[in-house]
């Protein structure tokens, strides 16, 4: 951010022009740096992910064959809930200290800033969840053939979860008690991702070709990438002006 380059013009050779990142990279770097400095926020969804998955053997049955049957769904539901849990704080601190208002007032395209914020959120929750998922798969006796499907489906599905969840976060950011409300708004919209995500893992376990499931997850992600930032931007403007 601070690397200065000498001005090329001869007239103002003394003046240094500071190279500033574009709206996308600037917002991405800022969000990543902020979370790096508050590491506990990073780890909490992961711990939650592990704990939810632990509840199923304890609450239902520790039988390996049963667990292997339900493992795709359990891992996916746990990942979905962990993403949801981290959603509420997405715009909260920016809203409280006034940064969000400045972002909305700035001439930079809101679409790109929002997209960068969602990408940062995904890199800090969805990606670690995806990487941790095989460990949960082993704990729940998911057959080894299912691991590839699990990682691939989460890799394509969790960004969509972040995009949809951000709409809910943007709509509720101005409210004091957004936490439960955001789950009510977002969970019904998560259902298609859950269906195809866990179906992909089931398919991988039974040896079906995965292309179709992954293509649909990819299609939902592309639709989300194009449409969701528009809805998030509109929702942020409404929440901040209200």
């Amino acid at each position: 951010m601070n690397d200065s380059v000498p001005n090329q013009s001869t007239e103002e050779s003394m003046v240094h022009v500071y190279k500033v990142d574009g709206p996308f990279w600037g917002a991405l770097k800022r969000d990543l740096l902020l979370s790096y400095r508050r590491k506990s926020d990073l780890v909490n969804p992961l711990i939650f992910f592990l704990m939810v998955a632990t509840l199923f053997p304890l609450g239902v049955s520790p039988d390996p064959t049963f667990l292997a049957d339900v493992a795709p769904g359990v891992v996916w539901v746990a990942a979905l809930l962990a993403t949801l849990l981290s959603m509420d704080s997405m715009f909260r601190s920016d809203f409280e200290d006034g940064t969000l208002e400045q972002i909305l007032l700035s001439p930079q395209p809101l679409y790109l800033v929002v997209l960068a914020k969602v990408l940062a959120h995904w890199m800090l929750t969805g990606l670690p969840l995806t990487l941790l998922a095989p460990v949960l798969g082993v704990m729940l006796f998911l057959p080894a053939e299912g691991m590839g499907g699990l990682v691939l489906s989460l890799l394509l599905g969790t960004p969509t979860l972040s995009l949809i969840g951000a709409i809910g976060a943007a709509l509720t950011v101005g409210l004091r008690k957004g936490g439960v409300l955001i789950s009510l708004l977002v969970l019904p919209l998560y259902i298609p991702v859950l269906i195809f995500g866990s179906a992909a893992v089931q398919g991988a376990v039974t040896g079906l070709p995965l292309g179709g499931y992954l293509a649909i997850l990819g299609a939902m992600l592309s639709l989300g990438l194009v449409m969701a930032p528009l809805a998030i931007g509109a929702a942020l403007r409404i929440s901040v002006s209200g």
Partner: protein, 250 residues
């Protein structure tokens, strides 16, 4: 304004709460009469005169409540999303109010559809609830309504609440087909055709004509419920304007 000539005049008149209040006052009795006539005719026809189904016997007659409520629950969502979009784009107060009034009506009709489906399911499928694709997508539609009601009641400012729920309704509108197809797909993957209705020939006319009467009757009933709620909402929001004061003063 010259550039807005392409929109019919009534569209702009609708934006005036007062005009809307007066026109709904005139239309309301017509729709009340139509709803009563159609629903009474349809119910008597359906329950007493329509032939019984050759496989399901008389238990199929709940179709005359179930199908109209299912259709209406979906149309109501469309209306809510469209009204929300009009409110967002043209900043029309009446559209906001229409969208707000749709949510509770739609949620109740979705409950009616789910309840009649469960009652029908017991004799036909042998259980109150099955994770059938159509039941599940109706349940999700009901959840969407609940989310919209929850968001609307959580925001204090009327304008912000209307705009936020409009955005949510539009996001839901994009999602409804995706949810519908994904649920269909999910179901056909896991339970192929187990819970389909018993195959039967296409309905004869003496069965579907009363159904059509009931569907139109339900729409008229919806219009009545909508107008009553809308008039209430208009009076409440415009309580400080002079015409409402005059109206209340008599």
């Amino acid at each position: 304004m010259a550039d807005k000539k392409w929109m019919p005049r009534w569209f702009y008149q609708l934006a005036s709460p007062r005009w809307c209040y007066e026109i709904t006052g005139k239309l309301l009795p017509l729709f009340v009469i139509a709803a009563i006539l159609l629903l009474v005719t349809g119910t008597v026809w359906a329950l007493a005169f329509a032939p019984a189904d050759y496989q399901q016997g008389n238990s199929f007659r709940i179709i005359y409540i179930h199908v109209p409520s299912s259709i209406l629950a979906q149309s109501c969502y469309m209306l809510m999303a469209v009204a929300g979009a009009i409110g967002l784009i043209w900043k029309m107060k009446v559209a906001d109010m229409v969208a707000k009034c749709c949510a509770p009506i739609g949620a109740s009709i979705a409950v009616l559809s789910l309840a009649t489906g469960a009652i029908w399911g017991k004799p036909t499928w042998g259980s109150w609830w099955v994770w059938d694709a159509r039941l599940t997508s109706m349940l999700i539609l009901f959840f969407l309504y609940l989310g919209i009601i929850a968001l609307n009641s959580a925001i204090e400012s009327e304008r912000t609440a209307a705009q936020s729920t409009a955005v949510l309704a539009l996001v839901g509108l994009v999602n409804i087909p995706i949810i519908k197809y994904s649920v269909d797909w999910w179901n056909t993957l896991h339970q192929p055709a187990t819970f389909k209705l018993t195959e039967r020939p296409a309905m004869p006319a003496e069965m579907w004509v009363p159904l059509l009467v009931m569907v139109i009757g339900f729409y008229c009933f919806f219009a009545v419920a909508m107008m009553l709620r809308l008039r209430n909402e208009i009076i409440q929001r415009e309580r400080r304007s002079s015409w409402v004061r005059d109206l209340i003063a008599g």
